[in-house]
Amino acid sequence: MKACIKLIGVTLIAASFIAGCSNAGQNNTNKLPASQTNTEGNAEEKIELTFYYPVQVGGPLTATIEGMAAEFTKQNPNITVKSVYTGNYSDTAVKTQAAVQGGTPPDIAVLLANELYTLLDMDAITPLDSFIDKDPDDTYVNDFFPAFMANAQTDGKTYSIPFQRSTVLLYYNKDAFREAGLDPNKPPTTWDELAEMSVKLTKQGQWGIEIPATAPTPATWLFQTFALQNGKNVMTSDGKQAIYDTPENVEALQFWLDLSTKYKSMPKGVIDWATTPSDFLQGKTAMMYHTSGNLTNVKANSTFDFGVSFLPKKKQYGSPTGGGNLYIFKGIPEKNKEAAWKFIKFLTESERAAQWSIDTGYVAVRKSAYETENMKAYTTDFPEALVAKDQLQYADSELATHNVGKTVKALSDAIQRVVTGNSDPASALKQAQEEADKALEPFNK
């Protein structure tokens, strides 16, 4: 019997140890509520903002972000920003949504602009209109490029502020153009020219062009370029309808497929998003479709003369916008929201937006950023940096709907089925349309 009592004792100790562990863990994660109680009553009390961000363009930029956060704290001593590196965009989306579902949202996060409806469905984000209205600077929102604001607004409300945005560009190797007897200052401007030139540029050890189709977003994002050039966008602007199965889109997907099967100037199968720039830099492909966010990398690492241009047109020029916006979350103290708004304003100041664009190759999100001395000097030296911005007049928003994970997957599966030769464009898009309709059905009731 004695043994039993002893054992109960030990079990209790063990249990309390475990409970202790978990409490300790919780205290660590729930710094927010702690700071909340602190801030009530005393305005100068510390505020800590949790900031989730992805860095799609490679490792060293984490340091740049940390630097910005530190600079912000220098200007606002009572606010510290805990920046949390959360991987690439899709990892960041998963992590943020998981945190929201778990009841511990970050205060602020950079997420793909097309997450808007999903975040609204989760009731995760705060509309920014009250901050915008209160703000003394009433030109602030209008200074952003309209193409970037398209993914940030719905139902007359603004839910996010553009931060690191991009469009798709055609990168081409001028040396390869010269070798193939093409004019290095005349990149293809139409689909026909693209096909024709890519054939001329194809030789042993060098492809004419590479268009990556990694799932999910690179595939749909690059498909949107063709869809926009050949007609209209692949969804309605209220995010309730997907428009996949149209003759124009079938034609667009057929063209993509033709590059590898008919013209044989592009590798067959799914080309990887991450290795495409390496292929370009290594001279394994003479042209590539890739994000403008890659410009700085290509500039830094190319050993040859390269150029960038608008994507070739069919009926018109066109590219979807891409990249991340800044969102403020719900379920955080009001003080934190205000601090988060301050931080957003800080991050998007014209000078800073210009510098961020120069460091990364992303398009500077505000018009005034291109008026800064810094940017003017940079673009005089490197006019390629203006191409993505100039293309914005033809740009439209990235595929964004309710239940966006499923609608994007439906389309990217269809694209992959076609480029790998397992289906023809018409039936693949028909199936994608059915799947997307099913995913969107509950939102159309």
């Binding site: 019997m1 043994a3 039993c4 054992l7 109960i8 079990t11 063990a14 249990a15 899709s90 989306a93 998963v94 949504q97 998981a98 579902q101 999903t118 469905d121 989760m122 009731d123 189709a213 990694t214 799932a215 999910p216 590798p267 067959k268 199968g269 799914v270 080309i271 990887d272 290795t275 390496s278 292929d279 290594q282 394994k284 309710h402 239940n403 994970g405 499923k406 997957k409 990217s412 599966d413 269809a414 992959q416 089925r417 480029v419 790998t420 397992n422 509950p442 939102f443």
Partner: protein, 294 residues
């Protein structure tokens, strides 16, 4: 009704089991029960409060072409990895069990993939399979001119992943065979030696039959593993192209944590649990037989 003696006799044992049981209930039984209930509900981004919908989730799985593709993939993944890795494991073990020079080297070479995280292995093999300058591409240049896009081609991707898994698993199964071989009495081999039996005959008539229980055990482990192994998909293919490499557990992950379709994720989890229980039942049945002829 129950006497004090009953409690005295049993309570110590129960208390010893208690700490384990708490966690077993919390993380095996309670979640399974909860999942059953959730699988009868619609709970996704469209329905913030779960709605009871009976068996609709199960019905819709029947019409879900991706679900069937994933199940087929799981099937081929098992067929592709299990027999090959078991055959290799057996050959390795028979060799490594002999008192030969170099046996330590061979054992080390075969086993080391098992102490490396799957996620690290995926990185390494991603570079092996990369077209144009991946290791395999470079090697193939000497063989033929063509360059294969291993992970970007739905007909090749499964093979590529199967080879990688065989590379990892064979050494692990070798260990079980080594253990099995230790239980085989050396007298049998001496007798065979005296009779002048050829090695292949010895293997066929003595080693292989005696290792049959081990083989069955390894098969079950391999089968269970073929459901669990999905880490590499996160790095190498994301289940693509067009779901050609996706597996059930990865599909569950996608539904739950990328699409937040919790009802569907629960339904898929139940399907997985049922499959695993069937495998265990088969194991029970076979293992019982084995006991009889031992």
């Amino acid at each position: 009704m129950l006497s004090a003696k009953f409690w005295r006799d049993n309570s110590f044992a129960w208390l010893l089991l208690l700490p384990s049981l708490v966690f077993l209930i919390l993380f095996t039984f309670y979640p399974i029960g909860k999942t059953v209930i959730l699988s009868l509900q619609q709970s996704d981004l469209a329905a913030r409060e779960p709605i009871f919908i009976g068996l609709d989730n199960y019905k819709s799985l029947i019409g879900d072409s991706i679900f069937w593709k994933v199940m087929t993939n799981n099937f081929w993944f098992a067929i592709g990895t299990i027999p090959t890795s078991i055959a290799l494991a057996l050959a390795m073990a028979v060799f490594a069990n002999k008192a030969l020079r170099g046996k330590g080297f061979v054992r080390t070479a075969f086993f080391y993939p098992n102490v490396i995280p799957m996620i690290a292995i995926a990185n390494v093999w991603l570079f092996i399979y990369t077209p144009q300058y991946g290791l395999l591409s470079r090697a193939m240049k000497y063989v033929e001119k063509g360059d294969l896009n291993w992970l970007g081609n739905p007909d090749l991707v499964m093979w590529a992943l199967i080879v990688m898994i065989v590379w990892r698993e064979a050494g692990y199964f070798m260990i079980f065979y080594l253990a099995g071989l230790q239980n085989v009495s050396p007298d049998l081999y001496e007798a065979a030696d005296i009779d002048g039996a050829r090695p292949w005959l010895v293997f066929r008539k003595i080693t292989f039959p005696l290792l049959m229980p081990t083989t069955l055990f390894v098969m079950i482990v391999a089968l269970t593993n073929s459901f669990k192994l999905v880490d590499h998909l996160f790095i190498m293919t994301k289940g693509g192209p067009d779901n050609a490499s996706s597996l059930l557990l990865y599909y569950i992950y996608e539904q739950a944590f990328a699409f937040w379709d919790l009802g569907k994720a629960s339904t898929l989890t139940i399907v997985m649990i049922v499959l695993l229980l069937i495998i265990s039942a088969v194991q029970f049945f076979w293992m019982d037989k084995k006991v009889h002829y031992e």
